[in-house]
Amino acid sequence: MIPFIIRKVLVLIPMLFVISFLIFLGIELMPGDAVDFMIPPDALATISQAELDVLRAELGLDDPFLARYGNWIGQVMKGDFGYSLQSGVSVRDLLAQKLPATIELSLAALVISTLLGSLLGVVSALNKGRLGDHVLTVAGMIGVAIPQFLFGLVMIVLFVFQMELLPVGGRMTPGNEAFFQRLDHLILPAIVLGLSMTAGVMRYSRASMLDSLSKEYIRTARSKGIPEWRVNLIHGLRVAMTPVAVLIGFRLPILIGGSVVIEQVFQWPGVGQMFVAAVRSQNTPVIMMVAFFSVSIVLTASILVDIATALLDPRVKLS
């Protein structure tokens, strides 16, 4: 087991280097460089080209591409992610400030979609071919087809404008900052992000449950006279849920992408909203760090999934 994990981690490291290189290449290809952003346009008229060149040389922007990449990756490894071109705040501080909001929202959505998705999937599988199954299947199909942000907008219109139950956006009202006081802000975005991911989980857990119910050991259990609910829930469900649990890891990229959109809809002050603002204003250090950060999370999660699968399923070979 230990060599297996070590091997997985060793593959991760060169992969992260390649990705960081690609991301740095991306910075290079973007229009403008740091100097263009440092000097306001009205000051540009009074500065000669020679002075600009001196500044570029001082900042190391004249160095060959690979040298600059080496410089950059060295800083990143020391934990220095550069500074936001807009506010001048260090990207590390920005991330630290925005990350809790995103984690809060994603975690809530993950819990909602996992619980609801696997519950509905199992219900659907146990009622296969009956009305309940069809209703859930159709609901799932609509859920997959509706644009995430449209779903969010409809929910805003329903629960905020029509029923006036919940606040329209943001994470908290000033003064009420304890977790339970700002829970009403979290409800709507978490439900929208959670529900929009539920359909996939439902489909998967339905298939997994049906597969598990068609196995020989289920027939054995039935023939032993074990009550039907026990067969379904104890013998069928336990095996069916293993792949569903593993699926959590694979849903991370969707979760990150979804939170980018949902944070925008609900003005949720998280990393996703910061990313969209950065893309709109071509704030390269922020864009690149968010990209690098999310890829690292996805890759780490996929390794954890591999390890979890290996631990849970004795049939997986470790070689």
């Binding site: 992969m15 973007m30 071919g129 997959v144 087809a145 509706i146 942000f149 925008q264």
Partner: protein
């Protein structure tokens, strides 16, 4: 299907056969299975309806999609405007029709483009394996570890916002999944005996992979193209909502929906954003139905 209802079906078939009413259909089995699939047919009808009305937009509506009419801003449905007008007086119904052209073009064009690259690489590399396969596989792994929307946003910033750039970027980010799907098909097909026979005849690997193996994988590929079309249309809408899609001057479904960010419009002018939202949802659903139907039709293990 439970065994009892299957038995009844077989009994019915048997009586029909005994009465001489059952003829062997000359129709292709996959086509027959597809046409027996109600959802797929509904999907196809909906798809054609939306496609045709978009293509025939000038015949259906007498308005121009970008004609501004400041006298009739945000007028509700009725009075000459079937679905009302938006904040600068453009006819919403007309914009949905014309917007559909571009949105469908983006969706279908990107899916086909991604398939061309992914399938041809997957077919060849999946058959020959070797260095090419492992290199492309690593590349696809790297690309797929980016959350899609983050990768697309970065590429949009680099390339700039335009219709063609968006399609290009969708192709660039979409081919890895096509590649993986084709490759896995090829890996199982290459183990079959007829491949060995072909190799024994000394036939080149390009001919074997493209002429003799690819046709056997075409079913899943078509399914994947339909499902990717739906995905790209949803992505175009999401990107437009974030302000990173096709430039706003061009009417697309996503761009029409974009104005719903204005809370005032969201609250008081449902006709601006709700109908186009419903059209996107219906269209994506219809494409998904077709894709699911194709999958069942192409699957020889399913009874039809």
């Amino acid at each position: 299907m439970s065994s009892k209802s299957l038995q009844r079906k077989m009994d019915r078939l048997l009586t029909l056969e005994n009465q001489g009413k059952l003829r062997t259909s000359t129709m292709n089995r996959s086509v027959r299975k597809l046409s027996a699939n109600v959802l797929a047919l509904v999907g196809l009808a909906l798809f054609l309806l939306i496609l045709m009305s978009s293509l025939a937009a000038p015949l259906i509506s007498s308005y121009e999609p970008n004609a501004i009419d400041l006298k009739h801003r945000l007028s509700p449905p009725g009075e000459g405007h079937l679905l009302g007008t938006d904040q600068i007086g453009r006819d919403i119904f007309t914009r949905i029709l014309y917007g559909g052209r571009i949105s469908m073009f983006v969706g279908l064009g990107s899916a086909i483009g991604a398939a061309l690259i992914g399938v041809s690489l997957g077919t060849y590399a999946g058959y020959t394996r070797g260095v090419l396969d492992s290199a492309v596989m690593k590349l696809s792994e790297i690309m797929m570890s980016f959350p899609q929307i983050i990768l697309v946003s970065i590429l949009v910033t680099i390339a700039g916002q335009s219709l063609w750039n968006l399609i290009l970027i969708f192709i660039l980010t979409g081919w890895p999944s096509m590649y993986r799907m084709t490759r896995s098909q090829m890996l199982s097909i290459r183990e079959q005996e007829y491949i060995q026979a072909l190799q024994a005849f000394g036939i080149g690997s390009v001919t074997i992979s493209f002429k003799h193996m690819l046709p056997n994988a075409i079913g899943p590929i078509f399914v994947n193209i339909t499902l990717s079309t739906a995905m790209f249309i949803l992505q175009e809408a999401a990107l437009s909502f974030l302000g990173l899609g096709v430039p706003l001057e061009q009417a697309t479904w996503g761009n029409i929906l974009n104005v719903a960010q204005d809370l005032n419009i969201l609250r008081n002018a449902w006709w601006v954003w709700l109908p186009v939202g419903v059209v996107i949802t219906l269209f994506v659903m219809s494409v998904n139905f077709i894709g699911d139907g194709l999958r069942d039709a192409a699957d020889p293990t399913q009874v039809g």
